[in-house]
Amino acid sequence: MRFQLKQFGSEAVVYDSESGDTHYLPPLALALLQIYREHPRPSQDDIVRSLTERSLFDSGLPPKTQVDETLNGLRRIGLVSPK
C-alpha cells in the first residue's frame, strides 16, 4: 500500500512509501479525503454541504475555492486520483 495514514483527532499525517515524503493534512484536507474515499465521484454541492456542516471552512476564500485548492493539493500528493 503506497500511502500510510495516521489520524490524530481531526488532523492526519501521511507517509508516501514510494517517494519517502511525509505530509500533514489539516482538518479540511482530511475530511475531503475521507469523502473521496467513501464516494467515487461526489458532487461539488454534497462536498460543500458536508464540510459546512462540520464547520471546516474558514472565513477566507469562498467554500468552492477552498475545496478546489485543497483537492488540487491532494491530487498533487497522489492521495486523490487525477480527474
Binding site: 512509501s17 514510494e18 517517494s19 519517502g20
Partner: protein
C-alpha cells in the same frame, strides 16, 4: 601476490571464518567494512549462510542499522529514476541507467545491501543542452563545484557536471559515453546502446546488457583513480558475474564482447583481482583467453603492488608503508588514461595545490 590481509574480503571469501573470530576481530571487521561501505552487504550474506548466531550481541546493531539504510536507499533510487524518466519524457531520447542504480531497477543480486551515491545515466551526445535544461526544470542543478571543476567537466571531459536536486539533494551524473572523450580508449557507445535491455515497469528506461554491465563496471574500476569504494565495486562485479555465469554461454559472450569494445585489458585486471580478493569463480579457460591482453611482466608486477593495496578497505589497519604511494599512483594512472598529457599536467597541478585531495570536512 600475497593473500589479502583485510578481514572484509576474508569474510566474503569464506563466511564461516567468522565462527573463529574473537571479539577483537569483530571490532576490526566492522571498522574495515564501514570504511569499505560493505556492512550492509555483509549482513545478508551472514544471514544467508546461517551465521546470524555467530554475530556477538554487541555488534548486532551495526549490521541491522546498515541494512535498514540500504533497504531505504533501494526505494529512494527507484523513485529517483522514475522522476528522471518523467523529467526527460518530453525529449523522447533513449535513456540508459548505469552502475548501481541499474542493479536496483533491474532487480539484480548486485543491488543487495548497497549504498548509493549518485545515479548515472547515459544519453545520446547530440542534445546535451536539452537534457540539462529538462533536468534543471525538474530541479536538478550543477552545484557545489568550483568554476575550475565545472570547466573540467564541460570542456575537457565533454560531460555535464554532476547535477543535484534542490529539494531532495540527490545527484545525477549525465554521461554521453562510458569513458570520457579525452580518454585513451573509445569503446563504441552505439554498440552499447544497440544491446541495451528494457526494464520491466519503466517504459523508456534501459540498462546495459549483462556483459556490457560487467565490462562497464570493470572499466571504471581500472580507469577511476579515486577508489573510495574499490572493494565494494569488486563485490558488485562478483555478484554480477556469479549471476550471469550461471548461463553456460555467458563467458564466451563476455570475452568476445570485451574484444569488440577494446576493453580486454580492464577485464583482465578485473578478473585477476576478483579471484585474488573474492575467489570469484572464473573458468581457467577465460583467464587463458585474456592472457593476450595482459601487460608485460614488469608492468603487471607493478599493477599488482598498486591494486592489492588500493582495492583493500581504506582503513589504517589495512595500510602499510606503501599504501599512500599506491593510491597516488592509481590516481595519476587513471588521470593519464582519461586525459591526454597536455591537459593532464595542468590539471594535476591544479588539483594538488588548489583543490587538495582530502575528505571533505564540515564545520562542527
Amino acid at each position: 601476490m600475497r593473500a589479502p590481509t583485510d578481514l572484509v574480503s576474508l569474510v566474503f571469501r569464506n563466511p564461516d571464518a567468522v565462527r573463529r573470530f574473537s571479539v577483537d576481530d569483530w571490532d576490526l571487521l566492522i571498522r574495515q567494512a564501514r570504511q569499505a561501505g560493505l556492512i550492509g552487504r555483509m549482513h545478508p550474506l551472514l544471514l544467508q549462510k546461517g551465521l546470524a548466531d555467530a554475530i556477538p550481541s554487541a555488534a548486532r546493531w551495526h549490521f541491522e542499522a546498515a541494512s535498514a539504510l540500504a533497504d531505504k536507499q533501494q526505494i529512494a533510487v527507484r523513485w529517483e529514476v522514475g522522476q528522471i524518466r518523467a523529467a526527460l519524457a518530453g525529449l523522447n531520447i533513449p535513456l540508459i541507467v548505469l552502475k548501481g542504480a541499474a542493479y536496483v531497477i533491474a532487480s539484480l543480486p548486485a543491488a543487495r545491501g548497497r549504498l548509493f551515491n549518485d545515479i548515472d545515466i547515459l544519453v545520446p551526445r547530440n542534445q546535451p543542452a536539452a537534457v540539462e535544461s529538462a533536468l534543471m526544470l525538474a530541479g536538478w542543478h550543477a552545484v557545489g563545484l568550483s568554476d575550475y571543476d565545472q570547466r573540467y567537466y564541460r570542456r575537457w571531459m565533454h560531460e555535464l557536471p554532476p547535477l543535484q536536486h534542490v529539494r531532495r539533494a540527490t545527484v545525477i551524473d549525465v554521461h554521453h559515453a562510458i569513458l570520457p572523450d579525452t580518454a585513451r580508449y573509445h569503446p563504441d557507445s552505439a554498440k552499447l546502446r544497440s544491446r541495451a535491455v528494457a526494464v520491466d515497469g519503466l517504459p523508456g528506461i534501459h540498462v546495459l546488457a549483462a556483459e556490457d554491465r560487467i565490462l562497464h563496471s570493470a572499466t571504471h574500476l581500472f580507469h577511476d583513480g579515486e577508489l573510495p569504494h574499490g572493494l565494494r565495486d569488486l563485490t558488485d562485479l562478483d555478484l554480477l558475474l556469479r549471476d550471469a555465469g550461471a548461463d553456460r554461454d555467458f563467458w564466451l559472450r563476455l570475452t568476445t564482447r570485451a574484444d569488440e569494445l577494446q576493453l580486454t585489458r580492464s577485464l583482465f585486471y578485473a578478473l585477476r583481482y576478483l579471484r585474488h580478493f573474492l575467489d570469484t569463480p572464473v573458468p581457467d579457460s577465460v583467464m587463458a583467453t585474456l592472457d593476450a591482453a595482459a601487460p608485460n611482466r614488469v608492468t603487471l608486477a607493478l599493477m599488482d603492488r598498486i591494486f592489492t593495496r588500493v582495492l583493500a578497505p581504506d582503513h589504517a589497519s589495512c595500510a602499510d608503508a606503501f599504501t599512500s604511494a599506491a593510491r597516488l599512483a592509481a590516481f595519476v594512472r587513471a588521470h593519464w588514461l582519461r586525459m591526454p598529457v597536455h591537459l593532464l599536467i595542468p590539471h594535476l597541478f591544479h588539483k594538488a595545490f588548489i583543490s587538495p585531495y582530502q575528505r571533505t570536512p564540515k564545520a562542527a
